[in-house]
């Protein structure tokens, strides 16, 4: 049986391991998944996209940071940010776009936004409550502009519609599902 020498990030067993760690923190907002042992130096944001994207999905890369080779491996369609299922964006500035929010009948159509932040643990503290959290917890991303919280609050105002955020620093991810209530510092 032949085994192709795929870079580690694109191997099925890596996607399975990535998925379990991302699922774990999606079910527990505020917890941080360290993906560094699976990345071979590649960014955690790319790993999150690799876990979920394929040629049935659409991606809008607002950072311009994905290489042609990454896009080829992701094998994902590109789309305007208003219609993309997945969005890769920088957390440094407030978002100036309108993502898909899903519909009342199919709220899962709301976009998954992977937000690049500098560091998940050395910024100002956000207090989180909601499903997946026993009482309250906190996450402290740096490089995550306050404008993001305002935009997210707007997008997620009409539950069940909304967006789900995956915050990614170079090696780690945290998930803020649409149900999480956030109090800024």
């Amino acid at each position: 049986m032949s085994v192709l020498d795929l870079p580690r990030l694109w191997r099925p067993e890596t996607h399975q391991a990535l998925f379990r760690r991302i699922l774990d923190v999606a079910a527990r907002p505020g917890q941080i998944a360290d993906l560094s042992d699976l990345l071979d130096g590649r960014p955690a944001a790319l790993a999150a996209l690799a876990t979920f994207c394929d040629n049935t999905q659409t991606l809008a890369d607002l950072t311009g940071g994905l290489s042609a080779s990454d896009l080829a491996f992701l094998d994902v369609g590109t789309a305007p940010v208003e219609t993309a299922g997945f969005i890769l964006a920088s957390g440094a500035g407030a978002p100036a776009f309108a993502p898909r929010l899903g519909s009342l009948d199919a709220p899962e159509g709301g976009a998954t936004i992977v937000v690049l932040v500098d560091n998940l643990t050395d910024g100002s503290t956000l207090t989180l409550t909601g499903p997946g959290i026993a009482g309250r917890t906190a996450v402290s991303p740096s490089g995550f502009a306050p404008g993001w919280l305002d935009a997210r609050a707007r997008w997620c105002a009409d539950f069940p519609m909304g967006v789900d955020l995956v915050l990614a620093d170079p090696t780690r991810v945290a998930v803020l599902p649409r149900t999480t209530r956030i109090k800024g510092a």
Partner: protein
Amino acid sequence: MHPVDTMGQNRDGAEYGFAFLDEDAKRELRRSIFKAVCIPGHQVAYASREMPIARGFGTGGMQLTLALLGPDDTCKVIDQGADDSVNAANIRNFFALTCPGVTGTLRTEGASVIQTRHRIPELKLRADQILVFQVPYPDPLVVVEPNAAKRRRMHGRADYARLWVKLYEDMVAFDEITISHRYPTRINGHYIIDPSPIPRFDVPKLHQADCLYLFGAGREKRIYAVPPHTDAVPITFNDVAFAVESFRDKTTGKRHVCRRCGADDSFLDEFLDNDGARVFQCSDAAYCDMRLERLEAAK
């Protein structure tokens, strides 16, 4: 063959990739699971794949488990609490055949992924465990609204008036809510789910749990989730308390205990022994065995 299919190393030369499903199918399942966790209680539609067993025999649960499993997992499969019934044993054998490296177990505490048909184990599940339910009927509104598009709209609006009327009619006709299993349960104050045919006894375990609950309906092509530490409230009226099975003897008022291990806190199966006498026994076989072992060790 898609190159990724060659990654799994198969026993007996069987031509399966790891975890049977192709990577595209697993990725679609994973996307659906992710959205289901982000929208607790919402039924996410997915492309339920053909499995080598008929729909209605646990294919939804199997697909979830296959999308989750990695070679370092330990997997347990139960059917009405027992590991050794035909459905559970065959699904476990299938995982052993198609997921090399995954360890099978009968012990609840030793499993990282547990697939279940119609029970939640007696032992409290931990944060590092995932319980996967096989779901026959995912939509609690199907008894009051035949049109699927209308049901989706009702769910989105959290419009459950007709479900309440159904419960009220039960009260009028029988003086109690007569739903014994598949008890409609409200998740995080919005969606009402069918928690699969678990007995009422298990419904409170969904509320503010430590573990993640995933529900897969293969025939009906729906995935939904109850994340940990999420409100899961069986719907009832202010003046009608939700009650679980009590297992009290009608004449003596005492709770029946398991005839094997003596447990007085477990869900009991009632049946007739060879002499025609009514007997009670733990439905959760692993729990019963664990108690027996401890009793033996204490001797």
